[in-house]
Subunit: 570 residues, 2 copies
Amino acid sequence: MSRKVLVVGAVALGPKAACRLKRLDPSAEITIIDKDYLISYGGCGIPYYVGGDVTDIEGLYSTASHHVRDREFFEKCKDVKLLCRTELISIDRKAKIALVRHLDNDETEEMAYDRLVLATGSTPVQPPIPGVDLPGVTVMANLHNAIQVKDMISKGKVSRAVVIGGGAIGVELAESLTDLWDVETTLIEMMDQLLPPAFGKDMSRLIENHMTEKGVNILLEEGVTRILGDEKTGVTGVKTNKSEIPCDLVIVAVGVRPSSQIAREAGLAIGMYGGILVDKRLRTTDPNIYAGGDCIEMTHLVSGQRLPMPLGSLANRQGRIIGTNLNGGWEEFKGTVGTFCLKVFDMGIARAGLTVKQAEDAGFDPVYAVVAQSEHAHFYPDHALIFIKLIADRNTRKLLGIEAVGSKGDAVKARVDAVAALFQYNADVSGVSNLEVSYAPPYASAMDVVNAAGNTLENIILGRNIPIDVADLVKKLEKNEVRVLDVRGKIESRPFIEKYGDRWINIPQEELPDRFGELPVDQPLCLLCDTGLRSFETQIFLGSRGITRTRNIQGGYGMLMLSYPEIIPA
Amino acid sequence: MSRKVLVVGAVALGPKAACRLKRLDPSAEITIIDKDYLISYGGCGIPYYVGGDVTDIEGLYSTASHHVRDREFFEKCKDVKLLCRTELISIDRKAKIALVRHLDNDETEEMAYDRLVLATGSTPVQPPIPGVDLPGVTVMANLHNAIQVKDMISKGKVSRAVVIGGGAIGVELAESLTDLWDVETTLIEMMDQLLPPAFGKDMSRLIENHMTEKGVNILLEEGVTRILGDEKTGVTGVKTNKSEIPCDLVIVAVGVRPSSQIAREAGLAIGMYGGILVDKRLRTTDPNIYAGGDCIEMTHLVSGQRLPMPLGSLANRQGRIIGTNLNGGWEEFKGTVGTFCLKVFDMGIARAGLTVKQAEDAGFDPVYAVVAQSEHAHFYPDHALIFIKLIADRNTRKLLGIEAVGSKGDAVKARVDAVAALFQYNADVSGVSNLEVSYAPPYASAMDVVNAAGNTLENIILGRNIPIDVADLVKKLEKNEVRVLDVRGKIESRPFIEKYGDRWINIPQEELPDRFGELPVDQPLCLLCDTGLRSFETQIFLGSRGITRTRNIQGGYGMLMLSYPEIIPA
């Protein structure tokens, strides 16, 4: 059957839906419109273009075989009509007509459709800060912003930059500016941690410390109250509730919201976060109108809540589903588990599911383990620690979330993707303990770090492992409320004993059977080893000898050193 | 409750089960016996010790925190008694007494147990080849073999080696010998491919070519008929049904079989592959006797068949389960999906589930897709192809297997582990299409290679994509039975046209709408692009124009080049 399909938006989902439909039904008449002339680009590549990893902007809107995805490409290779600089104004759903405006000549046109696809994406939030519209202040919404910023930098106009917002885009941009361009970069975040919705504060601290080490100036719990400068000189600085930072570039990256205004005006149902509501087949409340990508709300498969999830990977997969369904197919998008990863300088980070806070908000009773272990067999050279935080519900043991950080990004991704695959099946902690991940000494441990995370969390849930977070430990250590029993070797512990005096006790694990009598029975003891495994064994051993006021330091020395480098003796 | 537990075998599963039980019940009286004095080592590290990546043999039997796992370690740190050089002779199940022999003084002892754990591992198959017991011929069963071989090599006694058996151990050893020691190494395999049970022939060809390129001499479909040499000079060569290879070292790696003789003699049930039969709790047919690791048979979760799966990672996880159950817990080992990975020089390979052949043998009707795609966003620098073969049942679309190969091992592992997690849930192909793997340009594509594999397989199952394997293509091309339509650029295709004349046609994809009239309508055409995606689009386009005798070359030029480099013009 021949039919007219109009697709609004030509970045990720729109072209994907169009090309998929065309492959299923070469006779379909498809038109894509976009208000921009730069289209079908990899938006997630913008920070890498700004940072110089991607040298040529064309790379972002070319195919893997180096075809520029422009109007001609879509017409010649895909047989899809593309109207750039064409904006959707309104939808007459009854008549099935979209009113569009051609921006180059300001003329409007009525376009009839049998099916309409809304791929309108999202819009960066522009916070109401005085000075936000000064020259030199920009959001990072599209390629034009990226070109403008890179132009400023490459002309030497930027020596100091401020990025407002410590989410994924802010973190990536701060890296880009610092890493390649050596721009003195300050990253400002209102919350008390980076990446607040994606990572817990403990894991995020590893990321912050790494970024600080790489030269990014991170300001947490600071809110920007004013952007300084004037129309002529442009931005000169940023004022927060605590400080003032001089700069010649400000990038605002405080989040995005679904672009759903016209859908709303057309009477389509909109969710509480402003995203278009769709069913599993990605149809809006009008069965002739599909929507997907950043402009919709989708179901979180762990919490059951509906929310926007602006990720290019989801947009692509949804685009394919819409293409299938436009052809009369029945393909479902069941929801998201919020999987994502990020490169942060020499660190790879990834996560899926809910954080502890999100889990609490969703009504769960979350409990978690933090483990540190080499990403491959400890006897094989060049190993690097991976830190995993695994979260489950205390009562049902249902898996809720995973966060991971390490210096080998692909290895971090491997652990998170494998566990993320379990979320949709309502797996519990034992699903991670027994997860059959592939093993060879260069790539994994026989008892892999991801299995260890499951094992540890099970032990914590069952009360066999009584943990303490490094954050709590540090607080209590500073207040002199606890002593540390360090079961590592004498050499490793000596500097700590010098620094902390009798608050730090060293008995190597193998000497404990003969020496546990030296320990105070009545005082709280926090147990430390390299990663948390031997300290766990120690906890059990001491418990069997009547020393029960012990807490096992989660993630051990590895976690302590990277989270609180300031407490480590020089 | 206090109880006596006897564990037979101190390599992987035995110590794990013992230590787990001890952590759950510090009062348990546990004794581990082993006939060797080198114990608790990472057997999978042996090739890396031979090859020099692991310089110190102690590394293989030390903990991550560099404690040597010897008798003293187990007694001091684990409170577990360890008897080395002690061999199990027989089991009196009724009396719950194990008869053991102390090898150092040849004395026997009766050891009473409440629970017995059989962790007796596996024994290398010693093929009945004349000369197999000559000096310089060895299996690689334990650390002694490894030390002996490394000693020979490091003393300069080995300039040419033959490895018999192209399984995982054979491949790893061939790499070790070639890579570090520059030993001229020949790898002999009786079947027509390397890694026959783990990979299909197509994927295995990528591995073979890579190894050949790295200097390993690979002989397929050759059976060793005699090992040459004499008692005094030792081995001097190997004779096969086709050739004779001079050498001064022969490593026999033709597989292992479960060490289950004493279990059998004690009347425990044994499976058809010689492995001890266990229930999900890993109890043998005697509820007081547990078994796990290489000596048992386990259920393959995809085929439902029972078979041995001698992998250190499974042994470790099973050890923990046995430890839990010894303490009265109820933990189940549901089975295996046969996940495994391997480093082969600069290539990482991984697989899970069934191969096409295994699937056929198990009664499925397998269909598969082979895709090639950069492991991360094509616009981000330094990308490397990953090749994925995804296998499903044609009728039910149930996922059956995945095989992957690429130059970034962690990235290969990431894809396989995520898909492997789905097998246990009886997922179908759409589970891979829509698998929510994490995305960031340095680590993945927005439509990741693993999703692309799912999409392609679905298209093949539904008859939208009609593929041809590169192997078939090459055969037909040589016999002049097909022509290739190369939709890549003019420059890429020119050398092929020079070599193949009118058997090779080039029309770049974007010119097809104007030029498809040039194509023969009545002749079979095989469509080629870089990876198989544009050729798929071409197949659909041509089909809509009445040109229907087309086949899409699976994995495109990438697969062709790495599988059949000989057909690529110089």
